[in-house]
Point group: C2
Chain length 393, copies 2
């Protein structure tokens, strides 16, 4: 509600004297514009924010003083007239970390405030690794990213962590059937201590949905489902432009709709869900079935058909519930979208009033870790807005 924030502003204003209210608003507005399109001249910023030029100039001075903006050197080629000064957002004024904590590997990405990757690091881990040791791996991946990216830990503004499991709002993993010993782990709290910044934990499918909206096929879609299709079946929901996590963080756990059927058909395509199943042999078998199905081999086609029937069952249930604009198919089997999408669509057309658009993930395997980066960037954005406010007051 707009009203609440206005009231908050009015209260602040009452405490700190009238001129500051507008200065706070102006500073935030200029910073947001500068983030959205750098470099920009004072005239650009005045036009975009609707503020007067002197007001923009005062705001820019505040932002430079606090390190969020900087002036660009004049373009050397220009000689006619006095060149307009150009300013840019200092993306190096802070950094974020994103992690994809999986059963077999931990991936970390260090990025600046524009989301540009500075360094990424991946470590293979034993699937049976216990929780303490797996968390220690996350810490060491963080340390490596910072050291190799030559970024001081004090510049970290936030970190995001994606996990295959259900996550409570406070960053506790309430249930993970994939990571041994992670049920009840207070992951955000434990990592905050070692990273010395706020840590945000989310379900892997939710993170993938965020990434798809940031860098993928869902850029301007406000209601979408991301189907993370692989050995585990999960869905990330974005509703009204925001991740919908549900009351207990369990939104999108659609794999439980018809679990026996799902397990049976998954097994045919991906091998049994035991720890041995991730051996190369199984992966190659899956690739072979996919290849055979593309070539039209009857048995392989039937395995894919059956697999898609249960995927479609999940997609139908979710579509009848929330009627999204788009369903993105990604995850371990995202590469077989050419086989999956038309089959899912056929089932949905016969069961739904309106089949949403179906698309293959454009981000691919990196979606989960990129979503974690985006999670951290969202938090950094929020902190930035607040600091810009503090600056101007």
């Amino acid at each position: 509600m707009v009203y609440h924030s206005l009231r908050a502003l009015v209260k602040e204003n009452r405490m700190s004297g009238s001129p500051s209210l507008l200065r706070v608003i102006n500073s935030v507005a200029v910073l947001s514009e500068l983030r959205a399109s750098s470099p920009a001249t004072l005239a650009d910023l005045a036009a975009a924010t609707g503020l007067s030029r002197p007001t923009v100039e005062a705001a820019i001075e505040d932002l430079i003083e606090q390190g969020w903006a900087a002036e660009l050197a004049a373009e050397p080629g220009r000689r006619v007239g006095r060149p307009a000064r150009r300013y840019h957002f200092r993306a190096d004024s802070g950094y974020v970390l994103g992690f994809d904590v999986g059963r077999h590997r931990v991936i970390g990405v260090l990025a600046d405030l524009n989301g540009q990757q500075v360094h990424s690091h991946e470590t293979q881990v034993d699937p049976q690794l216990d929780a303490d040791k797996r968390i220690a791996v996350v810490r060491s991946v963080a340390t490596k990213c910072l050291a190799r990216g030559k970024v001081d830990r004090s510049l970290l503004m936030a970190a995001g962590v994606s996990v295959p499991g259900i996550v409570a709002p406070d960053g506790t993993v309430t249930l993970s059937t994939v990571l041994p010993g992670w049920n009840g782990i207070q992951l955000a709290r434990r990592l905050e201590k070692s990273l010395s910044c706020k840590v945000f934990v989310d379900n892997d499918a939710n993170a993938a949905a965020l990434a798809e909206r940031w860098h993928g096929v869902a850029g301007d879609v406000s209601d979408l489902i991301y189907l993370l299709v692989g050995r585990r079946m999960g869905a990330g929901l974005i509703l009204g432009g925001r991740v919908h996590r549900g009351f207990g963080g369990a939104a999108g756990e659609i794999g439980l709709l018809d679990p026996r059927k799902w397990e049976l058909r998954r097994e045919k395509l991906l091998g049994p869900a035991t720890q041995e199943s991730i051996a190369d042999r199984d992966h190659q078998l899956t690739e072979q079935i996919i290849g055979d199905a593309r070539a039209g081999a009857r048995e392989a086609v039937r395995i894919i058909d059956d697999f898609c029937e249960v995927l479609a069952q999940h997609a139908v249930a979710m579509t009848l519930t929330i009627d999204p604009e788009l369903i993105v198919v990604g995850g371990g089997l995202g590469g077989a979208a050419d086989l999956l999408l038309p089959r899912i669509k056929r089932h949905m057309d016969s069961a739904c009033l309106r089949t949403p658009e179906l698309a293959a993930s454009a981000v691919g395997q990196e979606a989960v870790v990129l979503g974690a980066v985006r999670l951290a960037l969202n938090a950094a954005d929020e902190a930035l807005r607040q600091r810009a406010g503090t600056t101007a007051r």
Copy 2:
């Protein structure tokens, strides 16, 4: 996003001169407080809004001038000291209409801006009535409510209409299997002409969900599903405190999940879905089955069991998708919630990670029309905020 509204304010401010910005904010803040708790003294309003007393006084003067607030007469009993002036929101400064347009009846409710019912009127209609004639009935119900409530049409601020069908954002009924000839009817546009106010159309289950949050068991729940259980099976979703309608307005059309099973089991309890099925004979049969089941008669219990199994299937699919805090069961069979709820819960407990709270509707059969009133009140609230802004500028 707060930022967008701030920027909008900054733009307004630039066009109309600096002092108005704060005056707009103050006026809206005072009006909102006054709506939330009337009567109030200047001191009350100053404390609640965080504004200074002179600022509140100026805002109140603006609001009185425009008819949104009034001073209360001094309490006659008080004699010690000068009594503080008390102000109240003028709920009679505008009115709204809500309609429940069903197959067999059209209900209208006229309410003031506090949502107090001024008059309500119900007209029975032929189930086969065509669209033009049914819309004419809505108009005549509106006219009766206004005449008998002694309210001038010019005071109508908005109207809400609930229909059994799928509604596009512009108020067009895109699909109704219940009302003959309503597919494609531009209902909002057609009613706006005759009612001379903005008209908001919504699906009946969505409206019922709104009503349950307004007057029922879901007061402070931000994520809930309202199951409208009757001859038709629909669900209304409230997510993050707002109705979630879906991209095509088809969210909650969960009755299509397993349509043959649903129709079969519904028929056993509610009779065949033909037009004759709504005869009293069928209704009495349903009541008898419910009564027999309460008494433990085996065949009746089995009909209820089977019916609940398919209801639970719907509830499970929606819960796995959005993980709500609460599911409210209402509609034509809401009165049998004592039989339905424990059975639905048993199924859900075995299929969901976390079964949401289950509750019987506290609003009952009126939920659909009350939701339409709430829909109109929400629009009136928004218009009020904007007018309060205009006043102060």
